[in-house]
Symmetry: D2
Subunit: 401 residues, 4 copies
Amino acid sequence: MQDTADRPRRPWGLWLVGARGSVATTAAVGHAALTRGLVPPTGLVTALAAFDCADLPGLDGLVLGGWDTADDPLAKRAEALQAGGVIPQGLPGAVTDALDAADERIRPGIAAEDAQRHPAEALDRLRADLVAFREDHDLERVVVVNLASTEPPMAPDPAHARADDLLTALAADRPVLSPGGLYAVAALLAGCPFVDFTPSSATALPAIAELAERAALPLAGRDGKTGETLVKTALAPMFADRALRVRSWSGMNLLGGGDGATLADPSSAASKLASKATPLEAILGYRPEGPVRIDNVPDLGDWKTAWDLITFEGFLGTRMQLQFTWQGCDSALAAPLVLDLARLTAAAHRAGRSGALDALGYFFKAPLGSDEHRLDRQFLTLIAWAAGLGEGSAPEPTGTV
Amino acid sequence: MQDTADRPRRPWGLWLVGARGSVATTAAVGHAALTRGLVPPTGLVTALAAFDCADLPGLDGLVLGGWDTADDPLAKRAEALQAGGVIPQGLPGAVTDALDAADERIRPGIAAEDAQRHPAEALDRLRADLVAFREDHDLERVVVVNLASTEPPMAPDPAHARADDLLTALAADRPVLSPGGLYAVAALLAGCPFVDFTPSSATALPAIAELAERAALPLAGRDGKTGETLVKTALAPMFADRALRVRSWSGMNLLGGGDGATLADPSSAASKLASKATPLEAILGYRPEGPVRIDNVPDLGDWKTAWDLITFEGFLGTRMQLQFTWQGCDSALAAPLVLDLARLTAAAHRAGRSGALDALGYFFKAPLGSDEHRLDRQFLTLIAWAAGLGEGSAPEPTGTV
Amino acid sequence: MQDTADRPRRPWGLWLVGARGSVATTAAVGHAALTRGLVPPTGLVTALAAFDCADLPGLDGLVLGGWDTADDPLAKRAEALQAGGVIPQGLPGAVTDALDAADERIRPGIAAEDAQRHPAEALDRLRADLVAFREDHDLERVVVVNLASTEPPMAPDPAHARADDLLTALAADRPVLSPGGLYAVAALLAGCPFVDFTPSSATALPAIAELAERAALPLAGRDGKTGETLVKTALAPMFADRALRVRSWSGMNLLGGGDGATLADPSSAASKLASKATPLEAILGYRPEGPVRIDNVPDLGDWKTAWDLITFEGFLGTRMQLQFTWQGCDSALAAPLVLDLARLTAAAHRAGRSGALDALGYFFKAPLGSDEHRLDRQFLTLIAWAAGLGEGSAPEPTGTV
Amino acid sequence: MQDTADRPRRPWGLWLVGARGSVATTAAVGHAALTRGLVPPTGLVTALAAFDCADLPGLDGLVLGGWDTADDPLAKRAEALQAGGVIPQGLPGAVTDALDAADERIRPGIAAEDAQRHPAEALDRLRADLVAFREDHDLERVVVVNLASTEPPMAPDPAHARADDLLTALAADRPVLSPGGLYAVAALLAGCPFVDFTPSSATALPAIAELAERAALPLAGRDGKTGETLVKTALAPMFADRALRVRSWSGMNLLGGGDGATLADPSSAASKLASKATPLEAILGYRPEGPVRIDNVPDLGDWKTAWDLITFEGFLGTRMQLQFTWQGCDSALAAPLVLDLARLTAAAHRAGRSGALDALGYFFKAPLGSDEHRLDRQFLTLIAWAAGLGEGSAPEPTGTV
């Protein structure tokens, strides 16, 4: 990472929705371990040489905070992840102080119930939390990243179309947003860029986009691309560009952990399945046969196992097959991307970019502002865009609505 | 494909080394079936919209010929492939006349023995075959594509370093080249671009490169990327660009058919294994542990089955795995690429390009003139290069040494 | 097969429910091809040396007939299976005459509607069909095998408990049985042993069992064990007998063809899933976590692809995994078993056995009369039982109610 | 396990060749953990209800000792296995005292060199070690189990044919035996039953068998069946008994750890590959095509990964496939079997059985004295045999040559 000796840097903040979840805990342990030089930056995309010229804010100056509805301390969560093999033996113990400090900065999240009954009050409190975090720690800027559990799709509402209508409805305590939506609005009202790492539909609402534009704030999302879809979007271009016709693509996803339990609920799974189906169709130009299944197998814990069977047709109609089994640890795959997204979004904010950051599509299953799903082209777009952030000297955005 | 009504086109030729092999036979059946509208252009890369502006020579004007050491007629070979499921029922019967016509144009290949004992005589005859083919059919140009069986690596010889030394040695009947090398020299001496679809080391010799440059002829190769390596080069960038560390990558390739039998011979397999190992190291920047095996399992016939196990490390050292099983029909995968390479190389020749066509690396395991192995970037390079071929009006190359 | 020169044999019959389906058509082609010596008896369990002493009725004397609701001729169905790769090229053509003759013996099946509205009439007609078949061809006995599509589970009815109540209800045109149930009753009333190769619940009804006992007729079933469950019951004893604890066993079944379409309907799939879950629990003594899924992927046709992931625990709690992918052609796997079951059931009938033939559990996912699911022990039981059939000289059963 | 209150039991011994290796260390930790009630007997076959009536010697009374050429303490080895995930966190620490006590009883093994140069001296020392172990701990009997690394096949020697010739050759310091052979002879001369858990060829020598018979000692082996071959022998009977023709069976075994390194040496791998090929041929009655490969992939550590592809043919020649991936921890799979074999062999010794214990074939790839490789039938044989051990009251064998 480029050293800019002449521009003294203030600290900056990353505020996590679901700050005590597996991904957030892994990110917190990893952040502390990286800044103390205990681990190499494996899995951290922005540590690649391709980003050297991007002048991204360093992890050294990063302060973590967030919301969570649960209240068991981070250090305890880290031990559980250590027992499950997600975090190596001994690492949580080596960064207990950092975890305890971060833990102090976690504020209560809002329950689905509160989002329904008292949205105005909830919103005010959330916004105040962010402002306090920024001021208490004298942060140059704060990026909010949503890591909460997958929510069921929101019921459509006319207030979703325009920013003013949405704010009016919320002020009138109308239950027009899920918690995920409230977190997004709170972030934007507090002048914070918002990144949606979940399949929540909130960030796709026109009203939210309008709020972001109005506040000159970047918005990014949705649904981190960390497992089966990652592999799919690496492989599908191979078929498309070799003019091979994919006849069927079936996928079975087995996972345990909190995510497995959440997705065992069909209404939550619906959000996830929707963002899993689109990339294939976008890349191939047609929709192959075949189901995508997600099932809860508690025994697998964080190790999501996905099996995909692809049948395809080549020259003269010859039939062929590819199958793969992916066994990835979701938290370990997602956590460094959260740090990457924080750095990139903060740099975009500093560079005066606002609205949907389509160049961050590389990280998402359902990229805001982009129809490009081919993994390698997303990466090329990302590094070109990141290189552009370091150039010129955009005026600092004011960052309030 | 662009229609250039004002420039009347003469027919052009594709001369196949190994013209009665599985790939060549499949290409011949496919060429006839495509030009008669019997099948869609599945598997034909140059039929993609991305090549519309490239002004490639059409398949309609293409005349097939070639060398083979075997002499069973193409139509009979096609029936065998039909029985093996490589070519659909009924298709060979529908194009028998075209196969018989192509069969008439196949000339005897040279045995390894002849290449050893009478290279000068062999070379003269091969060169004369090509000139006769071009003249008999009034062809604008002829592209030679080597589809012969994998040869053992050639013993190094000082004559390989410079074109004149090589020609002198051959004239003196010194056995300095394998049959694959003689085919390449004959093509260049006859003014024909040469494409090596096998892992033969001949096209990598400096003397051959010099011959091509001297004759202003394009050269392309080596070793068609149609199966396990294709998948590898689609997947490996995913690991590299996500900063995931690949710890081991092991591969087992099982195949039958003629290729399986050839590769059961360790000295031939050595050539193949060498071109299979490089791409991974080039993409990752380091060489992961793990063997690559090729075994002959006659029962599998043309359906090569590859199983790869990849173990990798993510954030904080977490260990994960990906495995895939590829079951592809080698002939069906290779045959359309042979037609693609013929079209692209002919267009390059027409556009005055000479020497190693590094932009054709997309098609090869060991791309001449390029260290780029990432599949998607190879594709981007290819389409940009192809688009450039159609522009301007390069003088027609003279094409003789 | 033992030659019993001194006991001249009359022909015998096999009557198939779903006589124009894929399994029945494959059985018909295979029966003709086997008796003409065109193919070896691959897949035919009773052709193994272990059955040499069982004195089973020969395939030479077997006459095929059956019911079907479809009316496209067998020869046409055989051609479709040939095109789909289930039956080898040329074989249907070589036995067209036999197929046409069998086709003449196929009578209309009954629709679900008829079973609801006019069960008494339907039953009479079905019974008459069987009697006519036996008399027209002077058959020693007729075995009825149900190969119809999977039916949804039947609604419970008090008439299912006792034979007399069932017959009374049917006589009163009460819709107490699905078509599968009516076929079973018709068979028993006509003095024919009944084998249920589907997961239909009819053969498990106490009233049907009582009917069979009363008529001294054998009954066998249910749900042919031909794919994923076959592999499961071969593997599960390995875990049980090595004292390894299976923690999860997840399965995904993808298939096309008529079966795939039927099982895309959740109510039909329920029957199938129920018979797939039991064997594992019976063998292990506990029920491991993990879903079993069946999905329709038309592109796969008859080639059912099943992927199973098994996680297990060994000494000191160490966690391990096994996964397998099965790609089997259901019709090719089931058809010879239908011939096996016909031979074995006919021999049991001749030997005077009646009621549930628990020794035939080897062939079924939900074996009637047995809790044994371990594949190898089922096989040992089967060959011991079959050997016993040939001994002694049981009086010929009268075979009428 | 049956309680025989009226027969007070003396302790008994298990002497391990390779007592500091991964399997032995895991067995030692497990033995201590089991007797202290810290873990359930998962993976311990003799803890199954089927062995309740076999009156096997208990693990409570078992004393461990052994030979090893390495000298790092058991407790340290256990920690390494804990770090590698083979032994759960905390368990080694909970049994350190037991490990340290066992460590005291480990004596130096003999190097290959010593077996070549001074076999007579080596043999005397080994024999004395065993006698001292038995006397020092007042053991009723001592079973020796060979867990040493795989040795290259021994060069044939005339002295291998008869016991007296072998003893004479050894007395004359002729290098006729590998270390594995010397361990076996020492055990028999000391009156100890010998179990070969490695593919060593020593136990198959006629001279060794004669020694065992002469001393009325049981002999068992060879090559523990713990991974790919275990699955193979569970699956192959399914094909055989369903009359399905296996056309090819290819296997790739990848493993790290000490075993991986040993087997990277082709001469050692030869022994292992030989015992891996036989079972399939024995079960099927013919030898299918297809290679078996073993490769060293250090990254996999103790987690052996095997991929097998089986192509088979069913009714009418239809072609189908099964593939499986096994990911098992070799040490965790082998260690409990070592305890099982010790108990069963001790019971056989007590019951007066001598010579090759063919009923223990269930545990081995190359079972001494048996051609049965079908896993389930081996298990049935084992439990019947074990039940027979408890019956009657055989006179205690004297156990010396």
